[in-house]
């Protein structure tokens, strides 16, 4: 191992020409790992000229390194990963983390393969082993059925992608000072991949995977009309709407809403499951949620057992009542202010 490489590098999530807020979460992980070791946390931004790089310093970075490819326009994975590898080689960090997004999950494996080092996927927890100073990377696998803690003992850097919402951003501190650096490369402008267009998903509905709160309905909602009550609840909460496979098969929701082994994986702050039994294939997609609320008529249902709070009763009735109460609260707040 190299003696001088003790820094922690965090890859910024660039989306739509701007830095995505998940980057602040990654910086928070960096700070947490830097802990007592006073290791520098460097946030690397590739391909855009950020409006406010100091933002990341206020959120905990020591250095913000903005990497300019030397050409304009959107850079596809190959040149972006190439720049990323160059920066890692120059900076020689001990640890590199990136969010487990489509971008992070593409760039990190390319970089790890080129650097011939280990990469742990989709971690929900990171820590430093006090015994040897190595990174302990913990992740769910096999549909959430096992948790594995993984180390990269013999190669550097130790690399991990980290699940969004696995940590809260730090409180911004306007007094924090750090360095903002810009590196410009002269990358050629021709690559095997050429970006032709980007069609933004303009649907107003909330992206399930990114929602802070998810409301999911199962067979216990009984009818399509009852299932629609969940839309009102989701709207009142600003929540993403999910469904079990049984609900999708009943035609109450499209497949894009299915949560579980063969659907989406979500890990919101709060997961509300109404009329959901909690079969293992469903749990696989949501068990790492921070708080789980179950509404079920059966106190023995698996979903009730995994919940932090369970309401035993008729799901449609509870959902309707809860929605009314929330709307009432909202109106009161509006009226009062």
């Amino acid at each position: 191992m190299e003696q001088n490489s003790n820094g922690i590098m965090v890859l910024a999530e660039v989306r739509g020409g701007a830095i995505h807020p998940v980057t602040r979460e990654m910086v928070a992980w960096g700070r947490k790992l830097a802990g007592q070791f006073s290791r520098p946390v460097t946030c690397v931004i590739i391909g855009i000229d950020p409006d406010d790089p100091e933002d990341l310093i206020r959120y905990g970075a020591d250095r913000v390194l903005s990497v300019n490819p030397g050409f304009t326009g959107n850079s596809p994975a190959t040149p972006t990963a190439g720049l990323f590898v160059d920066v890692i080689r120059e900076e020689r960090p001990a640890i590199v983390i990136a969010p487990a997004t489509t971008s992070g999950r593409t760039l990190m494996p390319i970089a790890a393969a080129r650097l011939n080092t280990g990469l742990t996927a989709d971690c929900t927890d990171l820590a430093i082993d006090p015994k040897d100073g190595l990174l302990l990377q913990t992740r769910p696998a096999i549909g959430g059925n096992v948790m594995a803690t993984i180390k990269t003992p013999n190669t550097l850097p130790q690399m991990a992608t980290v699940r969004p919402r696995s940590i809260r951003p730090l409180q911004p501190d306007s007094a924090r000072r750090g360095q903002v650096l810009v590196k410009t490369y002269e990358m050629p402008d021709s690559w095997p991949e050429q970006l032709l267009s980007f069609i933004r998903d303009e649907r107003k509905e909330i992206n399930l995977e990114e929602a802070e709160i998810v409301v999911t309905g199962g067979k216990g909602m009984k009818t399509k009309e009852n299932f629609a009550l969940l839309e009102d609840l989701a709207a009142a909460l600003g929540a993403g709407l999910g469904a079990t496979r049984a609900a999708v098969e009943a035609g109450w929701a499209p497949f894009t809403r299915q949560v579980g082994l063969t659907g989406k994986t979500v890990a919101p702050k709060v997961y509300i499951a109404a009329g959901v039994s909690g079969k293992i294939q469903h749990l696989a997609g949501m068990i790492t949620s921070e708080t789980i609320i179950a509404v079920n008529e059966d106190p023995e249902a698996q979903m009730v057992k995994v919940a932090d709070l369970a309401v035993i009763g008729d799901a449609p009735a509870v959902v309707e009542k809860l929605t009314k109460a929330l709307i009432h609260l909202k109106n009161k707040r509006k009226g009062g202010a």
Partner: protein, 270 residues
């Protein structure tokens, strides 16, 4: 065209039960299936072959000898041939070591135009094998693909990303990982199954791949699993009974209080 499809045999999920005490998944070790996304990858290869007669589709897997089952399944679904990478030296491979073996096999198979893989497996779930292998072969890694069209020596693809769909043109050769959206795998005919069951496949080890045994398996894996544990599923549950009007009101209030604690709702008055 030469198309290679990476396939992985994974534990079946149809007869899973959960150990109520430990929360561990109990399953039958002989119950294995082709990784679901790999069915989509094979189906896409078969579609390309339909449009481009003369295309050869090769299914490639690294796994135990029993993984021939996955190769047969792939051939029933449209692959022309298969190769099994199997040797005790491959045991304990992480994604780097897996990718190194797959990359060596691709090189041995000769010039390739397109490699298709699943975006991720349902057991390891890393989604790393595709892009890592691409990097080792110095090919572009085109991930999360939901549409693929061949246009001469290029492909035009749509990538499904968080906030929309990205359209790219990619010069071949390239490696593409597919998501479920890309197609609906049809059920193969019985005739194809019967035919595939009779097929045999070459088995390659480190020697055939020109790799030293120390370049494979656990020895060549930079990551180490240091601990595996069952997540604690059961939480201590606060139970509220929504019996009668009063019970319903109290239950709804309890939910609202919890949402406030979690800062989903503003604290205090509203």
């Amino acid at each position: 065209m030469n198309v290679i499809v990476f396939i992985k045999q994974v534990p079946g999920t149809t007869n899973v039960r959960m150990d109520p005490a430990t929360g561990a998944m109990l399953r039958d070790p002989s119950d294995t299936v082709l990784n679901p996304l790999d069915e989509h990858a094979i189906t896409e290869a078969a579609k390309i072959k339909d449009g481009q007669p003369g295309t050869v589709v090769t299914a490639l897997t690294m796994g135990p000898p029993s993984a021939v089952k996955a190769l047969q399944e792939a051939c029933a679904r449209g692959a022309d041939q298969g190769v099994l990478l199997s040797h005790k030296a491959f045991a304990g491979s992480d994604t780097i070591a897996t990718s190194r073996a797959l990359a060596a096999a691709v090189r041995k198979l000769g010039p390739v135009d397109l490699i298709l893989a699943g975006e991720k497996s349902i057991d390891g779930e890393t989604g790393q094998v595709g892009p890592m292998t691409a990097a080792m072969l110095e090919l572009p890694a085109v991930t999360f693909v939901r549409r693929l069209n061949l246009e001469g020596g290029r492909i035009r693809v749509q990538r499904l990303v968080e906030d929309g769909v990205e359209e790219l043109a990619v010069t071949l050769p390239a490696l593409v990982t597919v998501v479920r959206d890309i197609n609906n795998p049809p059920l193969p005919s019985l005739r194809r199954y019967v035919m595939a069951k009779k097929m045999t496949f070459p088995v390659w080890g480190p020697e055939e791949l020109g790799l030293k045994e120390t370049d494979t398996g656990l020895k060549a894996s930079p990551t180490r699993v240091v601990k595996v544990f069952s997540p604690k599923f059961a939480r201590s549950t606060a139970i509220f009974r929504a019996d009668g009007e009063a019970g319903l009101d109290a239950s709804v209030q309890a939910v609202i209080d919890l949402l406030r604690t979690k800062e989903i709702l503003k604290k205090g008055g509203a």
